[in-house]
């Protein structure tokens, strides 16, 4: 039982990442009607915003000491990060909290990248067949990932967890269980709440702002909305930017859990497409539900008890679910009937 709870928890943070990526994919699909294979790359770019931010913030000034010598007899190098020199203690905080602070960098950067992508390429593909959309965004994903590789190399870039989120929280104790029964890494807890927060923000934005209202109307009936004289295209461009930001933020916060390398995007892309399909193409709540569900299911399937019964199930469970869903209920869990059924 305890093990079960632990596995569910373990699945939730990964599920949060799936949900966030799938949410953006669905927004783009629902508003622009575009199947975006470059969405995983946006997640990866977000992660590299964190990497870049840390690189910048830890740039060091190197001064050769006049008095002290290193063990090799050369003058000792004294390294002080510029951030520390300029901002003092705040600089140190900046370094320690580089991951959360990168969110501030990621928002404008991702918004810009998203809008540039949409204006530059995606918009020419609204009316083209889905196969061509897949192809061009797939090519774009390769380009983005190779650019990152050219700048950051092929190795994973581990990112620090701020001191106070290090270690594990003993959740069992909080609900009155014995100690050390249910412990959970604090940062994963942070990620879970963060993803829930972002999801809530996106839904609130769509629900309570006029902008969101128009976009939702456009998602269900594009023609009518443009006939009302509302410039829906501009809003859709911004939606693409927002989807990019959501993917980027998900990527930033995921870096301490999984050190990012340039292939991160492709790995998550396939899974998040599966998530979108399971949830139902075009359904936002479906994407979120399916994201968490698949995260948890995957985590449960990797329990040794389960693996003993069905060897290898942990490797394929997600794909298996996708196949079954597509066969028995092609519109997914919460999808509307008829969306892309052809």
């Amino acid at each position: 039982m305890d093990a079960l709870i632990l596995q569910v928890l373990n699945g939730l943070d990964k599920g949060g990442a799936y949900a966030l990526i799938a949410l953006g994919l669905t927004l783009v699909f629902g508003t622009l009607g575009v199947v975006n294979f470059a969405h995983g790359a946006l997640f990866m770019l977000g992660a590299f915003c964190a990497v870049t931010f840390k690189k910048i913030i830890t740039l060091e000034q190197i001064v050769l000491s006049k008095t002290e010598l290193s063990p090799w007899g050369t003058p000792l190098e004294i390294r002080t990060p510029y951030a520390q020199q300029w901002f003092g203690d705040f600089g140190n905080v900046l370094i320690e909290y580089s991951v959360p602070f990168s969110l501030l960098l990621a928002i404008p950067v991702m918004l810009f990248i998203g809008i540039a992508m949409e204006r530059g390429i995606i918009k020419h593909f609204y009316k083209r067949p889905h196969a061509e959309q897949i192809l061009v965004t797939f090519g774009l994903a390769i380009v983005l990932q190779e650019i990152v590789k050219a700048f950051f190399g092929a190795n994973p870039n581990p990112q620090p967890i701020p001191q106070i989120f290090m270690g594990a929280a003993d959740l069992g104790v909080m609900v009155g269980m014995a100690e050390n029964v249910i412990t959970y890494p604090k940062w994963r807890l942070v990620y879970l709440f963060f993803s829930l927060g972002v999801i809530a923000a996106v839904f609130a934005f769509l629900r309570f702002t006029t902008f969101g209202l128009v976009v939702r109307a456009g998602m269900s009936d594009r023609e009518t909305v443009s006939m009302l004289g509302i410039n829906i295209d501009k809003r859709f461009t911004i939606m693409f930017g927002i989807a990019a930001v959501v993917a980027g933020l998900a990527g930033v916060m995921y870096t301490p859990i999984l050190p990012p390398d340039y292939t991160l995007g492709m790995d998550f892309l396939v899974l998040s497409f599966i998530v979108v399909v399971v949830g139902g193409m075009g359904s936002l709540p479906g994407a979120v539900l399916a994201g968490f569900m698949l995260g948890v299911v995957q985590s449960l399937a990797s329990m040794t008890e389960v693996k003993d019964i069905i060897p290898g199930i942990d490797q394929i469970i997600i794909y298996l679910i996708a196949v079954i869903i597509l066969l028995v209920r092609p519109r997914g869990l919460l999808g509307k009937r008829g969306v892309m059924e052809n």
Binding site: I134, V136, G139, I142, V143, Q315, I316, Y319, E341
Partner: protein
């Protein structure tokens, strides 16, 4: 059986000449060594087969890497258990990839459009993941499946003594490595190309194009499109299986990474780059990509310095630094860019580009002849 339209016959003869003389005309490009030539033939075959599905019917499969993998494993197992004979190995590759394609196709073809693509993707990923984990006894997981000195090789060992070194695949004594290996793969490619030509120019091919154009109309016209789709899916899967088998025949080592979905992605790139729906296009696409992969990726800064040596020094450095991002390790970047540009500006791929240039010339010529005839009239 062999009667094909005259135009197709000419295409085939020209194609055969081009393929069989590759060791000669690829020499100036530094690409005429056997290992690369074999790859050219094998991936061309793969792309031709993929195009039968994607090009003719418009169904975008992300699962063909799985069939390639199955073909490779089947061939290596045939070597290990029975004989080093490549024809036997290919037969097993055909058998197993065919069965596999039948099963995956039967299920995936219950859906169309992007749902079909995702189903094939899911199956390919499952195969890949399983090949790496539980199926290790068959696939040897990360190390990959290879020959050992202790292999039973039941058939071969009835005739010859077990040697002290690893055997190589051979067709009654003709080695399947080196140039003879290339000619073996080239002949299989030609057979595959011929079959693809036949399919494309047959009523069956026309049905497939009808499905691509308007599947609903096909149904109201009285066709049951499912068995047509399943047939072409299996044929196309077998092409991939044969290509996988040939990879093992020329180099008996099969690894699971061949089954990853990005390998299917590369196949899509080849087909699109060359020109989807044409017979020659996918071949050109495959050759270009394999050429880049092997030649471009070996270029480094010193090669570039040699290349740009005519530029002024400072300028040369800048050009070299920038261009070095696109070759060597970074050749994938070039590939991605090329691909995006093709999809955006030239959806018909290189073949469409060639056609456009062709008509441009023709128009110019027409204009000129018209002008000259006009001027003649003027004089007369």
């Amino acid at each position: 059986m062999f009667n094909i339209p005259k135009k197709d016959a000419i295409t085939f003869v020209l194609f055969a000449i081009v393929v069989l003389t590759m060791p000669i005309w690829l020499t100036p490009f530094g690409a005429s060594y056997p290992a690369l030539l074999q790859k050219f033939a094998i991936y061309a075959l793969l792309a031709v087969g993929y195009n039968l599905l994607f090009g003719l019917t418009g169904y975008l499969s992300f699962g063909h890497a799985a069939f390639l993998g199955v073909g490779s494993y089947a061939a290596v197992w045939s070597f290990k258990l029975l004989s080093m004979n490549p024809v036997l190995a290919l037969s097993f590759a055909i058998l197993f990839s065919g069965i596999f394609a039948l099963a995956i196709g039967y299920i995936s073809l219950r859906r169309s459009g992007i749902y079909f693509s995702i189903l094939t993707l899911a199956f390919a990923q499952m195969s890949y993941k399983l090949a790496y984990s539980v199926l290790s006894p068959i696939t040897h997981g990360e190390t990959g499946l290879q020959l050992t000195l202790q292999d039973p090789r039941a058939i071969d060992l009835m005739f010859i003594e077990r040697g002290s070194s690893l055997p190589t695949s051979n067709l009654f004594g003709i080695s399947m490595s080196g140039y003879s290996g290339f000619y073996f793969t080239a002949i299989i490619l030609l057979i595959g190309f011929f079959i693809a030509q036949k399919i494309t120019s047959s009523p069956f091919g026309m049905m497939l194009k009808g499905i691509k154009s308007n599947e609903n109309r096909m149904n109201y016209t009285g066709f049951n499109t499912k068995p047509y789709m399943l047939t072409v899916f299996v044929i196309s899967g077998i092409y991939a299986g044969v290509a996988g088998g040939l990879l093992s025949i020329t180099d008996p080592l099969a690894g699971a990474e061949r089954m990853q979905w990005t390998a299917s992605g590369e196949l899509v790139l080849m087909t699109i780059l060359g020109g989807v729906g044409t017979l020659i296009g996918p071949v050109i696409g495959a050759w270009l990509i394999k050429y880049f992969e092997n030649i471009f990726s070996a270029w480094n800064e010193s090669v570039l310095h040699g290349f740009f040596a005519f530029l002024p020094d400072g300028f040369e450095d800048i050009v070299v630094t920038i261009s070095s991002k696109f070759v060597g390790e970074g050749w994938h970047l070039t590939l991605g860019l090329m691909f995006v540009l093709v999809v955006v500006f030239l959806p018909g791929g290189i073949m469409e580009g060639a056609r456009r240039i062709g008509t441009m010339f023709k128009n110019n010529k027409d204009k000129k002849t018209k002008q000259s005839s006009d001027s003649e009239k003027g004089e007369g």
